[in-house]
Structures are given as C-alpha cells and as structure tokens.
C-alpha cells in the first residue's frame, strides 16, 4: 500500500473484503519502522498486539460477522491512557515501569470496536502541554518538517496520524492538547463536550478541564471514532448520562443556512495571528459563505479573561493531583513540570474559588453569545509550527491561548486544517459548538474539508526527514 487511506475509506474497503486488516497493519508497521526513529511518535510500539488485533479483525470480516467502521483500523493511544498489561509511562521517569492492571474506558471502547493497537504515543510529561528534553524519551517531531514542533500534549498522536503511522488515535485536552497538535500537524482533532467521553483510567492533568477525544486525518474520521467513544461511564464521576446521536448521519447534508459567529477580536486583537493563519481564517469564512452559511461577528470577554481563569484552575488542580509524588520526589519530574507544580502549590484556595466562580460567568457569557448561532469560529493556533528549538521554556506569561476558553466552558471544539502558511506548514481554524452538539460541529467541519483541497496533501516525509538532517 502506497497511499494512506482515511478511516472512512479503509472501513469501506475492509467491510467489502478489498483490504485486509493484516495488510493495512503491516503497511503501517513498515512506515513506523522507517519513520518513527526520526518522528518519535511512540513511547512504546506494540507490534505483536497490533498483528494479533489485525488477525482477529480479519477473521471477523472473513466470517461475515457484523463489524463496525473501526474494525481493523490501526490506532495509537496517548501514553497517559491506561492499558492493561502494557506499560503506561505518562512520558515520565516516575512511571517508567508502570504496568496498569486495568484498561482505561476509552481503550476498552476502541478495542471493542475492533481497532488495532499500534502502541502508546508520546506526550508531554503527564500531559503538561509543554516541551521538555530532560525526560526518558524524546519529544515527537512534526512530520511536515521534523525541525519543527508538534504542539502538545497529544504530540505523538498528532505526529503519528499526520505521518500515516496509524489512522486515528486518542488525545486528551486540558487547555488545547488535542487541538494544538491537530492544528500544527495538519489533521483534525475534536475536544468533545465535558462529560461526553469517559476520563476513567486516563491520568489527570486538571480534573475539571480534562477531556478525552479523537484525532484523525478528517472530521469524518473523528466522527467515526467519537461514535465508539461517547457514552455514560459510571467510572467517571463527571460522565454525562444522555443518549448518543449518530455523529455521521448529517455529514454531507450541506450547511446552507447554518449560523457561524466569528470571534474576530480573539485572533485579530487579543492575540494577533500570523498572516498565513489569518489568510486561512479569511478563506475559511469565504468558503462557509459559499456553502450557504450565514456568517456574523461575535464578541466575548477578552482572551486574557479566559486564560486567567483556566490557568489558575489548571495550575491548582494539577498541583493537587500530583502533590503525593511532588512532596517526596519533586526532582524526578521534568524541570518544566517541577516549576508548574511549585507554582500551582502557591495559588491560594480563595484564588482558586474565585477562578471557579469566574468560570460560571464566562460560560454563561458564551451560552448567551451562541443563542442564535450553531458554531463560533476562531484560530486554533497563532502561527504554523515554530522550530522545536525556538519554543519558549516557560509560557505562563505568554499571550493567551485560543483553545483554553472552551475547556473553561466545557463546550465541544474541533481544529481542522485551513491551508498552509508562509513556511509551507499547516494552519488551522477552530470551530466551537454548543454542549453535546458535536454532530453539528462535525457536519460543518466535514463540509469545509470536502469543499477545500487541503485533505489531499500529506507531509512529504522523505523531504521532511532530509531537511532535518
């Protein structure tokens, strides 16, 4: 196989017995062997498990058993997702030899859907969201140019999907850790509504901001994965109990008359994006109009308000979650995480509660702003991927992120590729829906992807690797 199929394409071929899951898996394993020594998308490869999963999938298809669209699809799991009997390190020295005795719920659901586990993917230590070079494993590299950053913390999943090492994977998102790597690696990644996908068995970063979600080449593929992942789980205390819609049913039905609000102020004033990113946003807005959507302008509180609220909550909850390890063995964390844990321990209880009170106000503001809209649109990242050695060591004082507001609100948000910047690397837009309206977000994202040429272009990996040497 020379071409990398999407999940949707592979599913059709597998179901009609035109593509062998074993053949597909072997093709992915070959790419892994060739490319991962440079990309570092994996902390751990599970080749034997992958082939066993693929053979089981193939047997099911050949026996004419009823199989779903993820049967035989190679995937990667971010290495903060517990996997029974398989090392789960959280990319940290502290859990270097940790072998869980149970699977995370999302790992169970994907396995039950017939997926093929290719391995555990690189992250930033305990999904911290920042780059470190003092960990037992190197950070993932961007397949579009391996001198460049992937963003994080779902960096290995982003790099692996973009490079075709697997077709989809799990990311987690506390302030943008699905949408950031999706944006910089030129793929799709959706952070679902808080509570839609179980967090059980996934290492926490900040309990009330953490979300689990799919990352794949297209929005349609994300929809297929979300279908398997969504649903109530009593193991997760914040899990929502509600019926799950069909996330692919509305794909391809057009977006005429749908209402899109652009939060211009976020990416044009509060955190002005690069010219290439702005061009991608402007072109996307024009495409949506061409598709019949009604586009208007939306104003929310400045990004700094959302950033302050989310950062205080994130710092404090992380410090609380990891206090038991930080007190006796702070030095075993990366320098970056040490600093964040120290800082988080210094936030007062009153400061934390004021942030959580502010959160309610900000969420109410977003709810009111979206009363007559289907989605809002802003940037996902300020620029295309920076060089990995130019990423700031510590970023709390940097300009506010475009993704954190929707962790603060708990609303669903997707990052999709909207073109390529001056450096030839992907740029992205972010679409945000109302709670539990993932089907609408995915419908609009899918319509955009199918109306634009960006999904036809994959990283030229051989030249990316040569460029990095």
């Amino acid at each position: 196989m020379s071409e990398i199929p999407t999940i949707a394409e592979a599913a059709k071929l597998i179901a009609s017995k035109q593509l062998s899951p074993v053949e597909l898996t072997r093709a992915c394993l070959t790419r892994v062997k060739e490319l991962d020594p440079e990309l570092h998308a994996f902390v751990l490869r599970t080749e034997e498990r992958a082939l066993a999963d693929a053979r089981a999938a193939e047997a099911a298809v050949m026996a004419d058993k009823r199989v779903g669209p993820l049967c035989g699809i190679p995937i990667g799991l971010k290495d903060i997702v517990d996997t029974k009997g398989i090392t789960t390190t959280c990319h940290s020295k502290i859990l270097r030899d940790n072998v869980p005795d149970t699977d995370a719920t999302c790992a169970v659901k994907l396995a039950e859907a017939g997926t093929v586990l290719m391995g555990k993917t690189s992250t930033h230590e305990f999904a911290d969201g920042g780059l470190s070079f003092d960990l037992p494993w190197p950070p993932a590299r961007n397949p579009w140019n391996t001198k460049h950053f992937t963003a994080g913390s779902s960096s290995g999943t982003g790099a692996g999907v973009a490079a075709g090492l697997f077709l989809g994977g799990i990311g987690t998102d506390t302030g943008g850790s699905i949408r950031g790597p999706a944006a910089l690696c030129g793929i799709a990644g959706i952070k679902p509504t808080y509570g839609l996908v179980s967090r059980a068995g996934v290492a926490p970063a900040a309990f009330t901001l953490d979300h689990i979600g799919p990352m794949a080449w297209t929005a349609e593929d994300c929809a297929l994965m979300l279908q398997a992942l969504a649903g109530h789980d009593p193991r997760d205390p914040a899990s929502a109990s509600r019926s799950i819609p069909n996330y692919t049913a509305q794909l391809g039905s057009g977006i005429k008359g749908m209402r899109i609000g652009v939060i211009h102020y976020f990416h044009e004033v509060d955190h002005k994006v690069s010219a290439g990113t702005q061009r991608g946003i402007d072109a996307a807005v024009a495409s949506f109009r061409d598709l019949g959507a009604v586009v208007s302008e939306v104003t929310l509180s400045p990004l700094a308000e959302w950033h302050a609220c989310g950062t205080l909550i994130s710092l404090t909850e992380r410090a609380a979650a990891y206090e038991e390890w930080a007190r006796p063995r702070l030095g075993d964390f990366s320098a970056r995480v040490q600093q964040r844990l120290l800082l988080g321990s210094m936030v007062s209880g009153v400061d934390y509660v004021q942030a959580v009170r502010r959160r309610r106000e900000l969420r109410a503001e977003l709810q009111a702003a979206m009363a007559n809209l289907d989605v809002v649109l802003t940037a996902a990242q300020p620029t295309e991927a920076p060089k990995i050695d130019e990423v700031p060591e510590w970023d709390i004082g940097q300009k506010p992120s475009f993704t954190m507001p929707f962790n603060v609100a708990g609303y669903p948000a997707i990052s999709i590729c909207s073109g390529f910047g001056e450096g030839g690397l992907p740029v992205a837009i972010q679409l945000v829906g109302k709670p539990f309206q993932e089907a609408t977000v995915l419908r609009i994202a899918d319509a955009f992807e199918k109306a634009t040429p960006f999904r036809a272009r994959r990283p030229a990996l051989s030249s990316a690797l040569v460029a990095a040497q």
Partner: protein, 64 residues
C-alpha cells in the same frame, strides 16, 4: 504587577511541603507575578451569592 519577597516565597513553599532550588526560586518569583495578576483578574464585583462551577449540568437552554 504584584511581587513576592523571599519570606513570602518561603512561607508558600513550606505550606505546600515543597522545596525549590535557587534557580527555581528565581523563576517562581517572576512567574508568581503573572499568577497574582491572574488572581486579580478573576475577582469581580459579584456579591456573596454567586456560586462557582464545580460540576456540569448542561440544561436544555444550553442547546437552544
């Protein structure tokens, strides 16, 4: 922006049960200014009855 002195830093670290190197202490002093500014930013005149968000219970109006 609000600043923190050595005594206050010592107190906060001791309260957290954590020790910091000299290099970390310098970083914390600089970063704490940002944290303190954020803490001021989330304080609004909202009165004592304004409750926090602790858990989500999205209502029908969220989706209207």
């Amino acid at each position: 922006m609000p600043q923190i002195d050595d005594a206050a830093l010592d107190y906060l670290l001791a309260r957290g049960g954590l020790r910091a190197t000299e290099e970390q202490r310098a970083g914390l002093k600089a970063e704490y200014e940002h944290v303190a500014a954020m803490a001021e930013r989330v304080r609004k005149p909202r009165g004592r009855m304004a409750e926090p968000v602790l858990t989500y219970g999205f209502a029908e109006e969220d989706q209207a």
